[in-house]
Symmetry: C5
Subunit: 356 residues, 5 copies
């Protein structure tokens, strides 16, 4: 988190629209692929060179341009030039610490999402997030990622295989499909986090250690992070649904309502996890108190029984010349009897107090 | 909870509308029953075979189709085909981890509810929930459940017996009746949870143990779960009330207002229970502190009284050759007097401190 | 609370409008009184028999019918029949665990309030609540109570004595007067709770015991209960103010604004009490911690002083044959000096630590 | 707080508009002063007798009537009669536990404010509040106070000295000036509370005692109280700004916006103080825990070192006839060596644990 | 905080619009610089003397007047006179404890921002804030600061160098640029605070001390402070975006949306930091509890093992004449065996309890 913020400040004072990529360089070379399709035909090409603009405008087909790797600013500049993107859009694409948002620029809609991935290892979990920018135009979709992951492969397969209605519908349906994929991914992340939470809970019941608290807090922080990714998504999608624009067609709105539901469900789950983690912290603290209580009881029982006895044997360890009991035959057994009586009394007392 | 989420992720990447049942297979064979009625006649039939579509459209009667068991996807597909349901509706019916919602598809309204049941045993409680989907059309209602429970039997009886106004009114009143039944069921669940909470409270006053805390937390989690089922219901029903549709007639709106009130009341109860459980946790923690305090006092009183005495007897246990007290006649009784004085002083001190 | 809920579930599955009284039978026989008045005349009659409907409709007078005791369902049915009340209204009147609400049925407005009473005894407080239903028609008011309390007597006196403007104005003003009375009653209850809270607070400062915590929690629960009665009242009254109906005349709206203010004030007080009680719990917990701290200090001081001394005297209690100190003349006084020096050092140390 | 409520219940059952002053009698005799001014002339008079109504209506001047002392109900009745005030307004003026509100009665606006004063002494703080009612008519302002304080003197001086624009503008500007004065006073109170909070904070760092907790809680309660006075003020002033009335002229709205800002700022400060006080409570509790920890460590170190040593010397204090060590020359020094070794080991252990 | 408030109360009672600077005198002499530019030309001048008003009105150029140092009230008065500013605006400029706000005065918009700076030293952090007022007119911008910092230098450089579109666009774009600079500065402050938080977190894991708690609380207070600066900013900028005024041109609104996003992001970060700090406090408290637990265990183990042993050796230190064991050959070794058995039993017990 903090690290993300740090980079941002380097841009203070620069004119708006200055293109500086603030993320880490993640691939050697940016790759740009292009799929052009309608319900009958589909062509795929690698246009990383991108010498000339694609003459998408006059076509009735849908053009999907996928850019992977943002550190080569000149590639982005070319794309921006070809599709007439506003400098602020290009700036936002490069500032890869955006919160999810949707901006209607009239000719196109600019959408920022956060793709989540759980890079957790054995010791815990660590949710990584990558910014995915989607630009939805009348007959094109541009998607931009930092890392060459294969999250969009199912969509490519469905396009190639002409499965479902994806080839029959327009660019807005393609954009919906990509958003849907990102949101569906959240459930995979939430699942693995849910498993971690259950593991922590088992550990909490079995043997709560300070490490358990640290795990709970790490999960809580993950939840803060997730929440920041999921929460604004709701506005993004309801913004798309209500958008007073021809870019989103009525037939797609019903599908967006479906993604919206998923978003709410993801949010619900995040909130439930937060509540669960808070409850687990309470359990931990009360189990600590309980254990301390138990430790104190053991100490108190032992000390309360033996301290008076030690006093008594101390009395007859004194070296006074005139101690009549010392010379008595019954002295030693009598002391034992007294001491046993004391012990018995103590035990009764402790049992009444329910300490035993 | 977490388990529910897990299944969901298996669908990531599939085209929307793909029909996969994510619940457990709960009955051997899906059963489909059909009741057709108006104020004068009523016919019942089992149409699990469902060879041909029911010619409900031209009829003035109300058709109620009840589907139990969702794992036979082909049955659902037939129903969807006959009544012209949107693929997303069918998908949502099968994804049995939906939160309650209402969606207006123009020709029909799709409603998702969660039917609750308290499967709690002696050791605590365990609220199970089942997704109930209701599709309200102009003259038909389709209800879909996972498990062959008999929750809807009272409605069938009222239909058969022609009790109340259920036969005189349209499909919307039948849908209302089903929703009302689901909501009324919540009160039964809340009741049994309320009893469990009172039991825990009694245990808390009588003898708070770590198990009590675990019970409180289990109940708190049930409340989180219940809340997720009840809270969105409010929007569902107020959505039905305000729906700008001919499917819900003005005469039924007044009944929906009644269910709405019940929903608010159920929510109120859930919130009250949450508050009570939080208060019980506070009581537990303060009782733990109190007990620790008491334990410490006992230890402190015993130790504070006997440690100085043990020191004194230790002094006269020393083997110095020249200890004038040891040879004195009054030595031994004098030591006892001193020790009794110390004990008396201590007791006065403790009484002043209100420790005794 | 829980008990209230329990009864409700017995109605699950019955058709809406089925009249079953879910409260306890509180009077032997329902009593129905009727006051008919205008600015000049007033007549009172007991119409518990209620053979025929009162011909109120053609009159220009205001008719006030007060029903006490709801277990005789047939009385309510007659009233409902005479005034043309909706079955759901009658059902809600009998379900005496309603939350406050206002429902506009066109011809009349149905209002549910909760009349509070503090039945608290010496050991604490116990707020009881009774459901009061008010039906406001164009020239009649029907009020329904469970118990034969005399809360409405001041209104009767004002009607009989023709005090204030109550006889000069219409049915809506009468309804306002009844609501005002219920709300004014809240202040009496809040007062006595406020006194209890102050008593608890005094006890908290003087001598906090576990019983104090239980009192605080009992009061907190009362507040949860009160809140549920007062909070929805705000909506009820603002609903009446804004109601787009001829039943509430503009001249009365200004008075409703006044009751609304009182409601807000009652809510404010409830919230303030809640905040105060939370603060008192914090004080309790910190006073427990303080006391534990003090106990620990006493133990530590005593133990830390005497344990080393006991060790020293133990050393010279050993029976070695060759212990040169034992034979020395100065041995015994030297040991005393050493021990006094240790005590002095300890005391300086404790004073520096501010433990003494 | 509680006391204020108590008085209120005495009015339950009385007809609305009954004039009973529920505050304490604070001055011997009510005083009524009257200032009539326009931009050129100003006259002042004491009209406590108030035999006849002031013929303010036909004048173009602004009339400001200031009433101090509300227990002489007949004075208020006369004023109410002369200016045609609604009975509910008069009732609210006398019920001096109103929360701030603004009510538009068409011909005039009735405003209730709470004037705060910090009567705190050396031991803490105690914010007192007095109800100030302001009635703004087309060319008159009536202000009513309980106590003869001099808060409005600066306004009188500005009127007499014709400073600023107060004489040039209308009655609404005069009302604004009075409100502004009340709000400005809040900052003085907040200042002195802020100083007290800083003092408590210093005490918390230097030497936290149970008295510190009580101070924190007293301040928290003051904040609850202040909040109740300041919070509704926001609505009052924004209500005046938006009021659809000729009584507030556009030129004054800009000044009201300024008071509104001050109100927000006061609210902000109250919230900040609340946050600070909560934080201070946390610091207190954690410092208590720390101190307990330190006490426990001292006890544990002393006990852990000396208890084993005491055991060892006890061993050689036994009187068995056959204990070979006792007769050995090296016995006594060897025991000392063993004991020194144990002490050294313990010290190393404690240093590793960072207890020393 | 408290100090800021204090100064404010000195103004109570003064007529609105009285110009008194409540900040500290920070520079010797106020400096006023003026930049006049359009896309082709730019002139800079120092007009601290400000003898005559600048004839900016007839020009098509944009005039930017930057005032540093507010204690020379006469300078501000001249500026106010030249540009026709409302007295309340001048008053607000001098009251340098304003919360961020935007006020539309028709001819111009008055904006208050808070410029943050982290003056933190080695021991912690200390965020200072300075009030920056911006007045946006049709073809002029006036910016007013208290301190002669160089925050606006990047803008001057861009103006001089004609970088970006700043010279091509109007006064509203210049105002946007200044706001953008202020908001970008927040990220620098948040960064350094984020680093401090991470340092505290490391300290918390490594070695939590009471000083750590104080650091956490100091950071929490900084967050309260930051929040007060950032939160209202959101309204300021969305107010500018929605402003129904010709002063903000459509081309600039898109840039304001960008600043708005940054504000949201800053707010998000503040909230995240608050959550993190709360979590850290929880960790601290649970680590204190853990340590106390550990201390108690050590004490209990040592005491529980040795107290019984000490009792046993005490028994055989008694001086009774008739103690058969004392004369037995096997007496001494037998006691040792018994004691070893007790120790072994204790160790097994503690291992089962998982204390070892």
């Amino acid at each position: 988190m903090a690290r993300t913020i740090k980079r941002r400040s380097k841009k203070a004072g620069l004119p708006p629209g200055t293109l500086v990529h603030i993320g880490e360089r993640k691939v050697e070379k940016a790759s740009v692929t292009c799929m052009v399709f309608d319900s009958e035909t589909i062509t795929e090409s690698d246009i990383s060179g991108l010498d000339a603009c694609i003459p998408y405008k006059d076509r009735k087909t849908v053009t999907w341009i996928n850019v992977v790797g943002l550190h080569q600013v000149e590639v982005l500049e070319k794309v921006g030039h070809c599709f007439g993107l506003h400098p602020l859009v290009l700036e936002d694409i490069l500032n890869t610490d955006q919160r999810p948002k949707m901006e209607d620029y009239g000719d196109y809609i600019y959408i920022v999402l956060r793709m989540l991935e759980n890079k957790g290892n054995v010791n815990g979990s660590g949710v990584m997030s990558e910014q995915v920018s989607i630009i939805l135009g009348p007959n094109f979709v541009i998607s931009l990622q930092e890392r060459p992951d294969d999250e969009f492969d199912p969509v490519r397969d469905r396009l190639r295989g002409n499965k479902g209605r994806i080839r029959k519908m327009g660019a807005d349906f393609l954009a919906y499909t990509l958003i849907d994929l990102v949101v569906d991914n959240y459930f995979a992340v939430l699942e693995s986090l849910g498993e971690t939470i259950e593991d922590i809970e088992d550990a909490l019941v079995a043997d709560p250690t300070p490490a358990t608290v640290h795990s709970i807090h790490r999960m809580k922080r993950e939840m803060i992070y997730l929440r920041k990714s999921v929460w604004p998504l709701r506005e993004v999608i309801s913004g798309l649904q209500r958008a007073d624009t021809a870019l989103v067609q009525p037939g797609t709105v019903i599908y967006l309502r479906d993604v919206y539901d998923h978003t709410i469900q993801a949010m619900d789950t995040v909130e439930t996890y937060r509540d669960m983690l808070s409850g687990m912290l309470d359990i931990y603290l009360s189990s600590i108190s309980n254990r301390m209580n138990e430790v104190m009881k053991v100490l108190t029982i032992i000390a309360t029984i033996f301290i008076p006895l030690t006093f008594i044997v101390g009395v007859y360890g004194m070296n006074f010349e005139f101690m009549p009991e010392l010379g008595a035959r019954w002295g030693y057994p009598a002391v034992w009897l007294v001491m046993l009586a004391i012990v018995a009394g103590m035990l009764v007392y402790f049992r009444r107090k329910k300490w035993l």
